[in-house]
């Protein structure tokens, strides 16, 4: 079997960076603040759909060309235009990418902020999880059913990553991998600094008992809405990277399966621990790649076995084992928050 090791490694690093962003987002929202975001797919998809819209409508405008209807009759022409602009005009591509990221962060943040208000209306705790899960599917179905957005269930292709103009394919991939890793690193730093602050302390209190926290005079809903905004903005960012890495935007990629993957990352790696989220993202990324390779290898050997099914069973089993034997995850949460603890050291 011929494996291009460099390409595989770069692809792995890229996917790891993107997954890390998703895991950090959920870790902040659920691990630290206690909001069960079972609708993670929705926030990721906001970033992806934003990319879909900007690459089909903003990009041509930035490149000084007339916009074409990306669906319908001018589909191929529009696709050719996108590809041409991203591969031949780096500055236009970067500008578009930058704007996409900014818009995605804003929209994702806004969506998260609004979604947090569902927490006020729930009767039992887990209803919130159900609402977010269900809401995520509604958004997906609506996006699919509204043709002008993403051409229905066909999806949009030609969403190139910002370094696609680099002639050397390896360098192109390497630069994008670096970008993904840098963004993941920045998100990690931000989350760590937030958690080790009085804000982090307050979120943990809200997580444990929001009623008592309210009784201590804290504006619980406002702080919860804020953390959802931050978390969802990060998720939307991962969505942008996910879409441009794939080169393709389709509603089929943002289903409950995605939400589940991210939950496995967080539960496996460590709930409430930033490094745990990174570890979980790494393990899931590697496992995914290994099962994909195994599936290809098995098929090459003539087996009809659908390894994808086994992947689901494997992940679900891991999740169950963690819940049963080590629910805090591989890297448990640190109890102490701020530097105040250092002040009191004898």
């Amino acid at each position: 079997m011929n494996i291009d090791y460099v390409a595989t490694a770069l692809a792995l690093l890229t996917v790891f960076g993107i997954s890390a962003l998703m895991a950090l987002s959920l870790n902040l929202e659920y691990g630290v603040a206690g909001v069960p975001n079972f609708g993670q797919a929705m926030f990721v998809s906001i970033g992806a759909y934003t990319a879909g819209v900007t690459y089909t409508r903003l990009l041509p405008w930035l490149g000084g060309r007339a916009g074409l209807d990306p669906c319908g009759d001018t589909l191929t022409k529009a696709l050719a235009l996108r590809t041409e602009l991203t591969t031949l005009f780096p500055t236009v591509g970067f500008l578009n990418f930058g704007l996409t990221v900014l818009i995605a962060l804003l929209l994702g943040g806004l969506a998260g902020y609004l979604a947090s208000y569902a927490a006020l209306r729930v009767w039992e705790e887990w209803y919130l999880g159900l609402i977010l899960l269900v809401g995520s599917e509604v958004v997906r179905i609506l996006a699919q059913g509204y043709p002008p957005l993403l051409c229905g269930s066909n999806g949009l292709s030609g969403i190139g990553q910002p370094f696609v103009w680099v002639h050397n394919a390896t360098w192109s991939a390497a630069l994008f991998a670096l970008l993904a890793l840098l963004l993941a690193g920045a998100a990690y730093l931000l989350c760590e600094r937030l958690v080790r602050s009085p804000y982090g302390r307050l979120l943990k209190a809200i997580r444990e008992n929001d009623r008592v926290t309210l009784g201590l005079g804290k504006p619980v809903q406002r702080r919860r809405a804020q953390v959802m905004a931050i978390g969802s903005a990060i998720a939307a960012l991962s969505g942008v990277l996910f879409a441009v890495n794939l080169g393709f935007v389709s509603t089929n990629d943002y289903t409950v399966a995605l939400t589940l993957d991210v939950w496995v990352m967080v539960v496996l790696g460590g709930v409430g621990n930033g490094r745990g989220a990174l570890l979980g993202a790494l393990i899931v990324t590697v496992l995914n790649r290994l099962t994909a390779i195994a599936a290809i290898a098995l098929n090459a050997m003539g087996s009809q076995f659908e390894f994808n099914y086994v992947r689901y069973i494997l992940f679900a089993a891991i999740l169950l084992l963690m819940l049963r034997y080590r629910r805090q995850g591989l890297l448990p949460e640190r109890a102490r928050t701020t530097i105040a603890h250092d002040e009191l050291r004898p």
Binding site: R193, S197, G217
Partner: protein
């Protein structure tokens, strides 16, 4: 002298049960007032209504000149009225120190825009840590500052809750059974702390208690509740001599 906390004909019902029935009471600034009565007489519900955890169906509640009848719990706390709970409502997954620091008001580091830049709130946090240090010393929990709240003994938890409720610099405290499940000597110690706080800082207290022998030694005034209504009110000596009170408590 107007009362710091005044209730006028407060009513609260659940479906068909009248849990709080036309209750009126007043606590003057600097007083330690007791609220007693058999189980199920509505005392905790009353606390819940006062503190904003539940909305009164009728009546008025005034605290420090503000009408707090319909105010949310966080606003009431910010006005200076703090409460404790029957079962220690500590954050068990957090350290003792974090539990102490949380209620402090006006923390700049709690705003997500400021939180990531540690320099912006470090000074304030250090000051608060010093304050918490002093408070923990007072309740003899300083050595346990890094332990999880869940690791403490029952008595220590009660002390922590008392110390914590002071960090928010309240004007008045509603204490719900501050000595529940605690050894008699510690119970007395807790009340001595309360009396000391009143003397030193002029704090006001309204306390639900079942340990009548300790309570009677420390309070200025007592309200007795039964089946949702206030049935007696007066200084400890008068209440102790009240036959009706003895009847509802001991079924004489």
């Amino acid at each position: 002298m107007t009362d710091l906390l005044a209730l006028h004909d407060v009513r609260k019902s659940f479906e068909r049960l009248r849990a709080v029935n036309e209750v009126s009471l007043g606590v003057a600034a600097g007083q330690i007032v007791g609220l007693i009565g058999p189980n199920g007489s509505g005392k905790s519900t009353l606390f819940n209504v006062i503190a904003g955890g539940a909305r009164a169906d009728a009546g008025r509640i005034v605290f420090d000149g503000h009408d707090i009848t319909a105010q949310p719990a966080d606003e009431i706390c910010r006005l200076g009225l703090a409460r404790s709970y029957q079962d220690p409502a500590l954050f068990f997954r957090m350290t003792v120190l974090d539990n102490m620091l949380l209620p402090a008001k006006g923390q700049r580091g709690e705003q997500p825009a400021r939180a990531p830049w540690h320099g912006l709130w470090r000074r304030q946090e250090q000051a608060l840590a010093a304050q918490a240090n002093a408070q923990l010393n007072q309740v003899e929990l300083r050595g346990h500052y890094a332990r999880l709240a869940s690791d403490l003994s029952g008595g220590q938890m009660k002390l922590l809750e008392l110390g914590r409720s002071l960090m928010g610099q309240p004007k008045m405290l509603l204490l719900d059974e501050p000595t529940a499940g605690v050894a008699p000597k510690l119970a007395r110690l807790i009340f001595e702390q309360i009396a000391g706080l009143r003397a030193a800082q002029g704090l006001t207290f309204l306390i639900i208690e079942h340990r009548l022998e300790v309570l009677f030694d420390f309070v200025d005034d007592i309200y007795v509740m039964s089946a949702g209504a206030v049935i007696a009110h007066g200084p400890p000596a008068a209440i102790a001599a009240n036959a009706h009170v003895r009847e509802i408590y001991f079924g004489d």
